[in-house]
C-alpha cells in the first residue's frame, strides 16, 4: 500500500555535503569520541557511520537529535541565514529568566532556538526554518514566534515555498501569556501565507509537543515526520496522571499519528532531501522561479 520512495540520482555523500559547509573541511561532523551508543537499540556504532547515515542508526533507524545547523547542511546546497538580530526581553519580568537564558546560551552556544535560512535545494529556492531543542528545549518564546511569523511573511512576499522542522517542548513558561500568544501569531501567519497559494511543508521531529503541535506545526499543506518522533499536545506524564492508567504502545509516536490520520508521510532523514525536492517540483517550483 505504502509509498515506495525511489530516486534516480544517487544521494550525494552526506560527509561531503556537511564538509562543504564546515570551515575546516577535515572536521566534517567531527567526532568527539569514536563510538556512540544508540538510544534506540543500544548498539555501539562508529560515529562516522552514524554521520554517513544522516545521523541515524544503521541498525534500528533511530534518529539522533541534530542541531539546526546540521539539518540545513544536510538538506541544502547553499543558504544564508535570515534571522533578525536577537535581543533578550523579559516580557512578564519573570524573576529567573535572564539567568536561565544565560545558562541555555552557554550550554548550547546558541542565542535562541531557531534558525531561518533562505537556501537552495538543487535548483529550487526556498525558506527553511528549524527549531533547535538544545536551547530551552525549543520552546516557543516571543522571538521564535516572531521569527516563524517573519519566515512566512518573507516566503509569501517572495513566492517561495517554506519548510519548517519543528522540535519543541511547547510554550516558553518564562514568557507567560506572551508565549501563548505566539500560537495565535504563527497560526495566523500560516493562514495568511496560504493565501499566496505557496506550499508550506511541516516536518515534525522528535519531540514536537504542546503549543507548537497546537499551532503552525499542525497546519502544513503537507505534514511529514521523522520515524519514531514523539508528537503530541499534552505531555505523556500529565495524561497518565489524568487517566490513571497505562498509555497504548507507540502512543504519540509518528507511526501512531500517521495511523490516526495526522501525517501525510513518515520520511527517513536520509530520504528527506529527495522527498522534499520531489514535492516542491510537483508544486511547480522549478529553476528558482515558480
Amino acid at each position: 500500500m505504502e509509498q515506495n520512495i525511489r530516486y534516480e540520482k544517487p544521494v550525494i555523500s552526506i560527509i561531503k555535503r556537511l564538509r562543504k559547509f564546515r570551515k575546516d573541511p577535515k572536521e566534517a561532523a567531527l567526532p568527539e569520541k569514536l563510538f556512540e551508543k544508540c538510544n534506540g537499540c543500544g548498539s555501539l556504532i562508529s560515529k562516522n557511520k552514524i554521520v554517513e547515515n544522516f545521523f541515524t542508526c544503521p541498525e534500528c533507524n533511530y534518529h539522533f537529535n541534530i542541531t539546526s545547523k546540521d539539518r540545513m547542511d544536510m538538506l541544502l546546497d547553499g543558504y544564508r541565514i535570515i534571522n533578525r538580530p536577537f535581543k533578550f526581553t523579559n516580557p512578564i519580568d519573570f524573576p529567573t529568566y535572564k539567568a536561565k537564558y544565560r545558562e541555555n546560551k552557554k550550554k548550547s552556544g546558541l542565542k535562541e532556538g531557531i534558525l531561518t535560512v533562505e537556501g537552495y535545494l538543487n535548483d529550487i529556492k526556498l525558506i527553511v526554518v528549524s527549531l533547535d531543542n538544545r536551547f530551552f528545549m525549543g520552546s516557543m518564546g516571543s522571538y521564535i514566534g516572531e521569527e516563524i511569523t517573519k519566515a512566512f511573511e518573507h516566503a509569501g512576499e517572495r513566492d517561495l515555498p517554506i519548510l519548517i522542522f519543528s522540535t519543541s517542548g511547547g510554550a516558553r513558561m518564562q514568557e507567560g501569556i506572551f508565549s501563548l500568544m505566539q500560537m495565535a501569531k504563527t497560526s495566523i501567519a500560516v493562514d495568511r501565507y496560504g493565501e499566496t497559494k505557496n506550499l508550506y511543508i511541516s516536518c515534525m521531529t522528535h519531540p514536537t509537543t504542546g503549543g507548537v503541535t497546537a499551532s503552525f506545526a499542525s497546519l502544513g499543506d503537507i505534514i511529514l515526520a521523522e520515524p519514531g518522533a514523539l508528537i503530541g499536545f499534552a505531555g505523556a506524564r500529565v495524561i497518565k496522571e489524568t487517566i490513571k492508567g497505562e498509555l497504548p504502545e507507540n502512543f504519540q509516536r509518528a507511526e501512531f499519528l500517521k495511523e490516526k490520520g495526522f501525517l501525510d508521510e513518515i520520511v527517513h532523514r536520509k530520504d528527506m532531501r529527495e522527498y522534499i525536492y520531489k514535492l516542491l517540483k510537483l508544486h511547480g517550483y522549478r529553476g528558482c522561479k515558480k
Binding site: 516571543s142 495565535a184 501569531k185 504542546g210 506545526a217 489524568t242
Partner: protein, 299 residues
Amino acid sequence: MIRELEEKIKRLEEQEKDSEILRIKRKEITEKYEKKFKPYDRVQLARHRERPKVKDFIENIIEEPMFFHGDRLFSDDKSIIGGIGYLDDIPITFVGTNKGNTLEENVQCNFGMPKPEGYRKALRLMKQAEKFNRPIITFIDTPGAYPGVDAEERGQGEAIARNISEMGRLKVPIISVFTGEGGSGGALALSVANKIIMMENSIFSILSPEGFATILWKDGTRCKEATEVMKLMAKELYDYNIVDRVVEEDISFSLEGFRDNFIRLKKVIIEELQMLMIKNSKELIIERQEKYRRIGGGF
C-alpha cells in the same frame, strides 16, 4: 482568605432581605477585600465551585438562546456549548466551554476540558455564524484542553491549531469573554477575537498554575508561588494590552448576587459589538490579525 470572604457574603445574603442594602453591603465587602487580593485569591475566585458557569452567563446575557449540538464528525462534546440567540435584539452566535454546576454536570462536561470534537463543534458553529453574518461571542472557563489518550488520538493539537487559524479569518466580529479560568491553548482555541473582555476575577494563563509549577520546578504543589510570577490576572493582562476590557465584579457566590456583574458585562459586550458592527469584514479580519501580529514583536 476566599473561604472567609465566602462565609461573610453568604451570611450577609441570608440575613439581608432588602436587595438594595444587600447590594451596597456586598460592594463594601468586595472593596475591602479587593485591596488584599493576591493572584492566588483570584485563581480561587475564578475556579470557585459556586461561581456562575458559562451556561449561566449565556442564559443571563443572551435572550432566547437556542443550543445546537455536534461537530458533524464524531460526537457532541458537552464541554462545549453553543448556539444562537439575541443580544439586545442582535442575532448572535455564542460558543463557550462549560463546566457545569453540579457534580453530575461537571462529569458530563468533563470539567470544562474539551476534546478535539469540542473544538470542531465550536468551529462548525462559528463558520455557520459567518455564513449568516452573525457576530460571535465566545465564553471561556476552562482549565485547558483535555489531556487524555482519546483526545490525543483524535488530534487535540490539530483541532486547536485549526480553530486558532480559522478564527483569525472569520468575516464577522468576534468578542471573547473570560468568565472564570482560561487555561492554555485550550482557552486560546476559542479566544482569537477582535476584543477580549475579562471578568475582574477571571484568569488567563499559559498553563494552569499547577502545570506551570510542575514544569518549572517539578513540583505541582508550588502552585501558589507560581501564580505570583505568572501574570494571570485580568488587570495585569489589560496592562499588557492582551485584554481590551476588564469588567468590575461584585464578589458573590450565587446567580442572584451576580446580577449586577451580568448587567455590566452585557453593557460592555454591546458597547464593543456596536463598534465592531460598523466595520466591514475585511477591516475586522485585518484588525484581528494585526492585533495578534503585534504581540511579542519588536525584535
